[in-house]
C-alpha cells in the first residue's frame, strides 16, 4: 500500500537497491528517485540522478531536486575494490549523505550495513544478536568502513532525522554478481568434490527480496515504538522453507475422515482452517537475565507508548534459516546441474595452510588469489544470527524461503549464462 512519501534509493541501480525500487513501485509509490554513479535501469516512473556519492555537491543537488522525505542508503563498493574506494564511498559518501539529509526535506534514513560489522574472522558468530560489540580489529578494510558508516548513521538519529541500520547476512538472489560467480567458478574449476572442514558450521544467507522487505518495514516504522508488554508475546518459528503446518489439537482440527460431523466438529474444523488460536494455547516466552530482551520483558508498563523506539537501532536480517555451509554450496551446484561424484573432506587446518600457500603463490605471480584464508574462514566458521529483534520490532518475516529463493537465484543465473553463451556464439558467427 502506497504511503505517498517521496523516496530516494541511493545505490538504486545496484543489486539490493534495485529490488528496493521494484518493491516500492510494486506497492504503488508515485515518487521514487534513484541516485547512483551509473544508470542501469530505465523506468519511466523513476527519476534518476547520476552522481558520485563522494561528491558532496552531487549528493546535495540530487537530494534537493528530488524533494525526498525518505532515503535508503544501499550504495557500497564491491568486495575487492580496495581501501581508498571503501573510504570514499562508505565513509565520506555516508557523511555527505547525512549532511545533505539534515539540510533538506529528508526525515528518515535507512542504511544498509552488514552482519560482517561484528565479525572479526577469528571468532565463531554463533546465534549472535545485536548486543555484540564491534571487534577491536576489523576483519578487513571493507568492514572497517562499514562500521564507521553504521556508527555515523546511528549517531545521526534525532528528531529531525530518524535513522536505523539493517545488517543483512549473505545476500543472494537475482542480480547478484559476486556470490554466485564464486560458487560457479568452483564448478568450472572442477573442484566441487572438495570440502573444507566437516560441514558442521552453520551460516545464514538471506534472499534479496527479504532484505528489501526489511528495509521497507524499517522505513515505515521508524517513528514507531515497540511496547514493553509485547516482549512477552510469543512468536512462532520461521517456517519459510519447512512449510507451514498447523498442529491439530482438541480445540482445533480438520474433519479428516469424519463422515458425519456434528455442529461442534464443524466448529473445530472451521477454527483450524481460519488459523484462530486460543490465547491460552500460545506458548509462554521464557527468558533469563542474560537474554537479549530479558530486561525489556520485565518492564511492567501497560502503555503502548512505553517501549523500544525503532529509530536509532541496528537490526540483523537473515532468512531465519541457518544452514550448514556446504549444504548451501551443494544445493547451488545441484541446481546449476552439477552433483559431485564423491566428496573429499579436507581438515580446516590443512585448508588454512593450503590457502596461505596459494596466497603466497598469487603474490609471487601477481595474480588475483582465488583461494584465500578469508574464503577458508567463510567456509568453516559458524556465522549465524538471532533475528528476534527484527522480527519483533520491525515485524519482519522472510517472505521467500531459502529453498524457493535458491531456486529463483539459480534459475536466473542459468538464464544469464545462456545469454552469455548466445553472445559468444553470435560473435563466433561474425
Amino acid at each position: 500500500m502506497a504511503t505517498n512519501e517521496a523516496y530516494m534509493v541511493v545505490g538504486g541501480c545496484g543489486f539490493l537497491g534495485r529490488h528496493i525500487v521494484e518493491m516500492l513501485l510494486a506497492r504503488g509509490e508515485q515518487n521514487v528517485s534513484v541516485f547512483d554513479i551509473v544508470q542501469r535501469h530505465f523506468d519511466s516512473n523513476v527519476t534518476f540522478y547520476i552522481g558520485d556519492l563522494a561528491s558532496s555537491e552531487d549528493v546535495t543537488n540530487a537530494i534537493k531536486k528530488s524533494g525526498a522525505t525518505c532515503v535508503f542508503h544501499t550504495a557500497s563498493p564491491a568486495h575487492g575494490a580496495g581501501r581508498t574506494i571503501y573510504e570514499l564511498v562508505n565513509v565520506s559518501g555516508t557523511r555527505n549523505l547525512i549532511d545533505s539529509c539534515f539540510d533538506s526535506t529528508v526525515r528518515r534514513l535507512v542504511y544498509t550495513s552488514s552482519a560482517g560489522t561484528v565479525y572479526n574472522g577469528e571468532k565463531d558468530n554463533i546465534n549472535v544478536d545485536e548486543r555484540l560489540d564491534y571487534p577491536a580489529v576489523a576483519l578487513d578494510a571493507y568492514n572497517e568502513t562499514k562500521v564507521s558508516a553504521e556508527k555515523m548513521v546511528i549517531r545521526a538519529n534525532s528528531p529531525e532525522l530518524l535513522t536505523c541500520a539493517i545488517r543483512p547476512s549473505g545476500i543472494f538472489g537475482p542480480g547478484d554478481r559476486q556470490m554466485i560467480t564464486g560458487f560457479y567458478s568452483v564448478v568450472l574449476n572442477n573442484q566441487t568434490k572438495f570440502q573444507i572442514g566437516d560441514n558442521t558450521n552453520l551460516a545464514d544467507f538471506t534472499y534479496v527480496t527479504n532484505v528489501a522487505h526489511a528495509h521497507l518495514l524499517a522505513m515505515d516504522k521508524l517513528a514507531d515504538v515497540y511496547p514493553y508488554f509485547s516482549f512477552r508475546d510469543p512468536i512462532s518459528y520461521v517456517d519459510a522453507s519447512m512449510g507451514k503446518y498447523r498442529i491439530p489439537t482438541s480445540d482445533a482440527h480438520p474433519l479428516g475422515p469424519n463422515t458425519s460431523p456434528t455442529e461442534s466438529d464443524l466448529l473445530l474444523a472451521q477454527r483450524f482452517e481460519s488459523g484462530e488460536q486460543d490465547p491460552r494455547d500460545l506458548r509462554p516466552v521464557l527468558r533469563n537475565k542474560l537474554d537479549q530482551f530479558g530486561e525489556e520483558a520485565q518492564e511492567e508498563s501497560d502503555s503502548p507508548a512505553d517501549g523500544v523506539h525503532v529509530a536509532g537501532q541496528v537490526f540483523f536480517v537473515t532468512n531465519g534459516e541457518p544452514i550448514y555451509f556446504w549444504d548451501f554450496a551443494r544445493t547451488i551446484w545441484r541446481q546449476l546441474g552439477h552433483t559431485p561424484p564423491y566428496i573429499i573432506a579436507i581438515p580446516t587446518s590443512i585448508g588454512l595452510i593450503l590457502a596461505m600457500l596459494a596466497e603466497l603463490f598469487s603474490k609471487l605471480t601477481r595474480r588475483e588469489p582465488g583461494f584465500t584464508k578469508f574464503r577458508v574462514s567463510q567456509a568453516t566458521q559458524q556465522r549465524y544470527y538471532d533475528i528476534e529483534k527484527a522480527r519483533r520490532i520491525l515485524g519482519y518475516e522472510p517472505i521467500v524461503g531459502l529453498d524457493e529463493g535458491m531456486k529463483r537465484w539459480t534459475s536466473w543465473y542459468k538464464g544469464e549464462l545462456e545469454k552469455q553463451q548466445l553472445v559468444r556464439d553470435t560473435e563466433k558467427t561474425k
Binding site: 561484528v118 565479525y119 572479526n120 577469528e122 571468532k123 565463531d124 558468530n125 554463533i126 546465534n127 549472535v128 548486543r131 555484540l132 560489540d133 566437516d198 560441514n199 558442521t200 552453520l202 518459528y237 520461521v238 522453507s241 519447512m242 503446518y245 498442529i247 491439530p248 489439537t249 482438541s250 480445540d251 482440527h253 480438520p254 479428516g256 475422515p257 469424519n258 463422515t259 488460536q277 486460543d278 491460552r280 494455547d281 506458548r283 509462554p284 521464557l286 533469563n288 537475565k289 542474560l290 537474554d291 534459516e321 541457518p322 544452514i323 550448514y324 549444504d327 548451501f328 551443494r330 544445493t331 545441484r334 552433483t339 566428496i343 549465524y384 538471532d386 531459502l402 529453498d403 535458491m406
Partner: protein, 518 residues
C-alpha cells in the same frame, strides 16, 4: 538376543558399558511394591495390582518411566496408559469387523463407568487382549480416582476413540486398512492416536498440582510432543507394518518417490528410493523437535521431566539410528540397550536434553545423502535444533557436577566475552546490595555505633534567588579519617571478611540461579 551377544555388544561400545554399570550400581529405582509406597501405589489392592501387571505386560519401555513418577501420579498415569492400551488393542485388531470395532471405539469412554465390563472378542493372536478380557480391574481403579483425573482420562478416551473410528471406517473389504493420504491427514491421525495422549498427560500433570495449571492449556506443544513419538514409531515400524498389511506412511510422501503402494517400499531393488522416502518421513518428524524442547522447558517437577524427556530423547535417537539405514527396510531397528541407559541417566534437565537433541541432529545431518531431494530442508531442520540449543543453553557455559557455572576459556564463540561481562556485572551488583544490607544490619544491632555525621538536621538557608527553604545538613562534619579508637581492628577484619564472603557466595548464587532457571 542371547546374553553373550549382549555382552559382546556392550564391549564394542565401552562408554555404554560404563553407563550400564553406573545405572545398576547407583540408580535408585522406585519400587512400587515397597510397603512405604503403598499409600500412593495401592499395590496391595488386587484390582490395582492387576492394573500394574497390565502395565508391565504391555509396555517394557513406558512401564519404567511411569513408575518413576512421584506420589500418586504414577498410579494415575498407569491407569491412563492401560485404558488407552485397551483402546489401541481394539483398533489394532484386524479380526474385528467394523460393525463391532467402530461402536466399541466410540463408546469406550462410557465403559469406564460400567462396573464389571470387559471384552473377550479380541483375536486370539492379539498380543494385549488380556487387558480387555480383565478390563473390570482397570474400570474399578478408574472409579476410585478423583473426579478431576477421571474427567481428563475419559475425555481423552472419547476423543481418541472417535478419531480412531473415523480412520478405521475408511477400511473396506477390498482395502482392509485405511491409507493415510496427505500430510494433513497424517498429522490428524497422529493427533488422534498420540497427540491427545500428550494433551491428557499435560492435563493430569496440572490436575495433580505438580505442574503449573496452565500447562493443561498448552495443547499445541503437548500434541507436538505426542506426534514426535508417534511419527518416530511409524517410521521405525515400517517393515513390521507392511508385513501385517498396515500402512501409515502418507501417500503424499512415498508416491513422489515412485511407489504405488507401501508394500513396494521394502523391495530391495528400490532401496535407494525407499530410503529417500524414509528420509522425508524423518524430516516431517523433526518438525516437532522444537516444540518438544519448548514443552520440556516448561516443566518444573523432576520426575515429570524425566517421564517426558526420556521418550523424547529415545525418539531422537531412533530417528538418528533409522536415518538412511538400509536395515530399516528389513527389520525393526532398535537403539542399543547401553545407549538407552545412557539416555535415561542423562535426561534430567533441559540443558542436557537439548545437547542430546543437537547431537542427534548433527548425526542425522552427517548422513544426508548428497542426492537426497530434501537435502536443503533436512539441513535447515537440523540447523534449527542446533540454533535452539545455542540460544537457550550456549555451549561455552560449562557446568561440572558440584561446581558453579564457568565460561570455557578455550571457546571460539564470539558471545563468550560479552556473557562474561554480564555475569561479572550481575555478581557485582548483587554483592553491592548484599554488602549494604550487612552494614545496615550491623548498625541496627548496635555493633557499629552511629556517628555524629550520620545524624541529619534541618537548617534554614537562602538560595541564590533569595528564597528561604529548609535543607538537610549533617549535624557534625565528617572527619577526614576514621578514628581508630572507635572501631576495633578485629571488627574491621570481621566486616571485610563477611563482605568478601558475601560477594563470593552471592556471585555463585547468581550464576547458579541464572543457569539453573534459564
Amino acid at each position: 538376543m542371547g546374553k553373550a551377544q549382549k555382552i559382546i555388544e556392550l564391549l564394542l561400545h565401552p562408554t555404554e558399558a560404563r553407563a550400564v554399570i553406573n545405572y545398576k550400581i547407583w540408580r535408585d529405582t522406585r519400587d512400587i511394591t515397597d510397603v512405604k509406597e503403598l499409600p500412593t501405589t495401592f499395590y496391595d489392592r488386587p484390582t490395582m495390582k492387576r492394573t500394574w501387571d497390565f502395565l508391565d505386560m504391555t509396555s517394557r519401555s513406558f512401564a519404567f518411566v511411569i513408575k518413576e513418577l512421584e506420589g500418586e501420579l504414577a498410579r494415575i498415569v498407569c491407569i491412563f496408559y492401560v485404558v488407552l492400551r485397551a483402546l489401541d488393542t481394539i483398533e489394532d485388531d484386524m479380526t474385528l469387523p467394523n460393525s463391532v470395532k467402530l461402536p466399541l471405539l466410540r463408546s469406550m469412554h462410557l465403559k469406564l463407568h460400567e462396573p464389571g465390563w470387559n471384552f473377550d472378542g479380541s483375536g486370539p493372536n492379539e498380543a494385549d487382549r488380556q487387558v480387555l478380557v480383565e478390563f473390570e480391574n482397570v474400570q474399578a481403579e478408574f472409579a476410585l480416582l478423583d473426579r478431576k483425573y477421571q474427567l481428563v482420562i475419559e475425555g481423552i478416551c472419547q476423543k481418541m476413540g472417535r478419531g480412531m473410528a473415523d480412520f478405521a471406517a475408511l477400511a473396506t473389504p477390498e482395502q482392509p486398512v485405511a491409507e493415510v493420504n496427505s500430510i494433513a491427514d497424517y498429522d490428524l491421525y497422529c493427533h488422534y492416536v498420540a497427540g491427545v495422549v500428550g494433551e491428557g498427560l499435560s492435563g493430569l500433570f496440572s490436575a495433580s498440582g505438580r505442574e503449573r495449571p496452565w500447562l493443561a492449556d498448552q495443547l499445541t506443544i503437548s500434541n507436538s510432543m505426542g506426534c514426535l513419538l508417534q511419527k518416530t514409531n511409524i517410521l521405525r515400524d515400517v517393515k513390521e507394518d507392511v508385513d501385517e498389511g498396515r500402512g501409515f506412511w502418507p501417500r503424499a510422501i512415498w508416491a513422489k518417490h515412485g511407489f504405488n503402494s507401501m508394500k513396494e517400499l521394502v523391495d530391495p531393488a528400490r532401496e535407494k528410493e525407499a530410503l529417500f522416502a524414509a528420509s522425508e518421513m524423518t524430516l516431517d518428524a523433526l518438525r516437532h523437535a522444537l516444540d518438544a524442547l519448548d514443552y520440556m522447558t516448561l516443566l518444573k517437577c523432576q520426575t515429570v521431566f524425566n517421564f517426558v524427556a526420556i521418550p523424547a530423547v529415545m525418539a531422537m535417537a531412533t530417528l538418528d539410528r533409522c536415518f538412511m539405514n538400509p536395515l530399516l527396510l528389513k527389520k525393526n531397528v532398535k537403539i542399543r540397550r547401553g545407549e538407552a541407559v545412557s539416555i535415561v541417566s542423562r535426561s534430567v534437565n533441559p540443558r542436557d536434553v537439548s545437547f542430546m537433541f543437537k547431537g542427534f541432529a548433527r548425526s542425522i545431518h552427517s548422513k544426508v545423502h548428497k542426492e537426497d531431494p530434501n537435502l536443503l530442508r533436512l539441513s535447515v531442520a537440523c540447523a534449527r535444533i542446533e540454533q535452539w540449543s545455542e540460544h537457550h543453553y550456549p555451549t561455552f557455559i560449562q557446568i561440572a557436577p558440584g561446581q558453579q557455572a564457568a565460561i570455557d576459556s578455550g571457546t571460539t564463540d564470539a558471545r563468550a566475552p560479552m556473557y562474561a561481562k554480564m555475569y561479572a556485572s550481575l555478581a557485582e551488583k548483587a554483592a553491592a546490595e548484599k554488602r549494604d544490607a550487612v552494614i545496615a544490619d550491623l548498625k541496627a544491632r548496635g555493633i557499629i555505633k552511629p556517628m555524629p555525621w550520620d545524624e541529619m538536621i534541618e537548617v534554614e538557608e537562602e538560595d541564590e534567588n533569595g528564597e528561604k527553604r529548609m535543607v538537610k545538613r549533617p549535624k557534625a562534619p565528617r572527619p577526614v579519617t576514621v578514628p581508630t579508637e572507635d572501631v576495633s581492628m578485629w571488627m574491621l577484619v570481621g566486616i571485610v571478611a563477611a563482605v568478601l564472603g558475601s560477594m563470593i557466595a552471592m556471585g555463585a548464587l547468581v550464576i547458579w540461579l541464572v543457569v539453573r532457571f534459564s
